[in-house]
């Protein structure tokens, strides 16, 4: 077995609230090599952000807890590390940027202070040298007049600029893995493109692996080598980006792909939506979580949960219909019955 940079096995995260337990992440596996980009997609509440937060071991406890699994990073199981050792990993080997740059930066500390802080947490370096490095970082993420900007507060920056600052903070210690939790969701479309370009450029320059959490398949297409589609805390499909676009197998993935705006979308045309809403994860559930919303669901889907199976090389699907042929057959069956 080749050594992955990140190898997550059976990650399970539970949240307890007033008597009930919710499995927000349920037995997720992830593999990521150096310099690779992995996209984690899914709708709100699918567990993608919780997965990302769990990788950093930043799940607020209580109420949350990582109850099972392993997170091997560079060969070490992060779940076995002491809090002190874990602090050395955070911001240094593995860092994270968040969805909303407006709320992610501390409003009462200067931008310079917030960059210098992370550098000084992981490197034995004087304040002055750290400040010089912070200026370099700001320059690198494309912020003009970095020396002046260093002394300014976050509210004096625009949203896009703040996300650039977040990226500067995240990359200040040259991490091996960058986790980006919907980094462009809160930004204007033009700014989104700039931030994605910047991330791509910096990834190439620094050989950083990226985990991109998003609900935007366009972002996945642009940035990711492979994709993990999550639904209700589980991986439902996992494959390369190319394969996902050409040969998506899980009905939920189809739903996601179909609800994208494409060049062929007509004006005033309604985009197809996946009917229903995600299940209540506090309730015990025996079948496939997607069954109630799945147009192709059969009897078995409602009482037996499908395992994640490798149906082709590097293409994993958790669905009872495991090949295109089976799916086409089932579709035709429904079509004929309707006639």
């Amino acid at each position: 077995m080749t050594e992955h940079l990140l190898n997550v096995e059976n990650l399970t995260v539970e949240f307890k609230s007033s008597g009930s337990t919710m499995k927000a992440v349920n037995g997720v596996n992830l593999q990521l090599n150096k310099k690779e980009t992995l996209g984690i997609v899914g709708e709100s509440g699918s567990g993608k952000s919780v997965t990302a937060t769990a990788l950093m071991r930043l799940i607020p406890s209580p109420p949350g807890k990582i109850t099972d699994g392993h997170i091997y990073f560079n060969g070490r199981d992060l779940l076995q590390l002491s809090e002190k050792d874990m602090r050395n990993v955070r911001g240094n080997d593995m860092s994270m940027i968040f969805q909303d740059p407006i709320t992610s930066l501390n409003p009462v500390l200067t931008v310079g202070n917030q960059i210098v802080e992370v550098i000084r947490a992981h490197e034995k370096i004087s304040k002055k040298d750290a400040a010089t490095k912070a200026v370099e970082m700001l320059k690198m993420v494309g912020i003009p007049e970095p020396e002046k900007r260093l002394k300014m507060y976050p509210h004096e920056f625009s949203g896009g600029m703040r996300q650039r600052v977040m990226i500067a903070i995240a990359l200040a210690c040259n991490p091996k893995l960058l986790i980006a939790d919907e980094p462009t969701t809160a930004l204007d479309v033009t700014v989104q493109a700039q931030i994605l370009d910047l991330m791509k450029k910096l990834q190439q320059e620094h050989d950083t692996a990226i985990i991109m959490i998003t609900h935007d398949l366009g972002v996945v297409w642009e940035l990711c080598d492979k994709v993990n589609v999550m639904y209700a805390g589980r991986t439902v499909e996992s494959t390369t980006t190319r394969q996902l676009y050409d040969n998506a197998l899980h009905p939920y993935t189809w739903g996601l792909l179909e609800s994208q705006i494409t060049m062929g979308t007509q004006e005033q045309e309604r985009l197809p939506a996946i009917p229903g809403s995600p299940p209540d994860l506090t309730m015990p559930h025996s079948g496939c979580h997607f069954a109630s919303r799945c147009p192709l669901a059969t009897e078995i889907c409602h009482h037996t949960a499908p395992e994640l199976v490798e149906v082709q090389s590097n293409h994993f699907v958790a669905c009872h219909l495991q090949s295109k042929e089976q799916i086409v057959e089932r579709k035709e069956g429904i079509f004929n019955a309707a006639k």
Partner: protein
Amino acid sequence: MGSFILKRLINLVPTLLVVGIIVFIITRMIPGDPASVMLGPQASVEDVENLRAELGLDKSLPAQFVSYIADLAQLNLGYSYSYSESVFGLIAERFPNTVILALAALFIAVVIGIPAGIFAARKQNTIVDYVVMLVSLVGVSMPIFWLGIMLVLFFSVNLGWLPATGMGSMDDGLWAFIKHLILPACALATIPMATFARITRSSMLEVISQDYIKTARSKGIKEYLVIGKHAFKNALTPILTVLGMQISNLLGGAVLTETIFSWPGMGRLIVDAIDKRDFVVVQGTVIFIAFIFVLVNLIVDVLYKVVNPKVNLDSDGGKK
């Protein structure tokens, strides 16, 4: 910021004028004639009339008011016949004592209350949190006169460790001075301490759940920095507001505490002056306290700016 401070200092004049008017009206509404109270029940009608003339009390109320405002405008707070001293002199003598007691109480309140609040917030919904909140609830609702008497009873009467009343002199050494300070300061600190603990806890709880705290943790910095630097600085604004109010209250003289412990401060001066119907002293001290109140609030407003860079003092003359 300079123009902000200047504006606020100019605003001080109408504020003090209004306070002056209110105090004037209230003191004139207190039943009992100052001259006959001062001279006692044995005094002759003639003596009382003479003293009334001397105090200016024989003049009509509007005439009294005009001369009172005219004195105020010249920063003259008047002369007290019952103390045979100028009101300024009285304040100069008593106010430092009040400051000493207030600072001691404030020190205790801040040093215990704020960390307790931070600790409770960190340990939300645990036994530690419940204990801190219960104790602070008791603290906020504790009647000071009762607590003061209990402290005296226990530490002075039963144990004999600390003096029950009075203020120690530095001439007898620092320890004698501190010994006299401990009980009144503790009694006076109770309410501010409990208030600090509660406001710090709720403010910290709000801040701890913010995204930038998650960012701070994701940087791998030490937990005490996350709490002390990232969270606490953001939680400071409401704490500062309460701090300002408490300082103003304490500097105004703790009437009950100073009375129980016979502490020669502003609070007792006012109570005694009211007893003696010494209007001049009451008016002067109340105006002085109002002045301190406004001044402390001005300092707090300036501190908002220091704590929160988003606050713009000059734009609209206050917080944004």
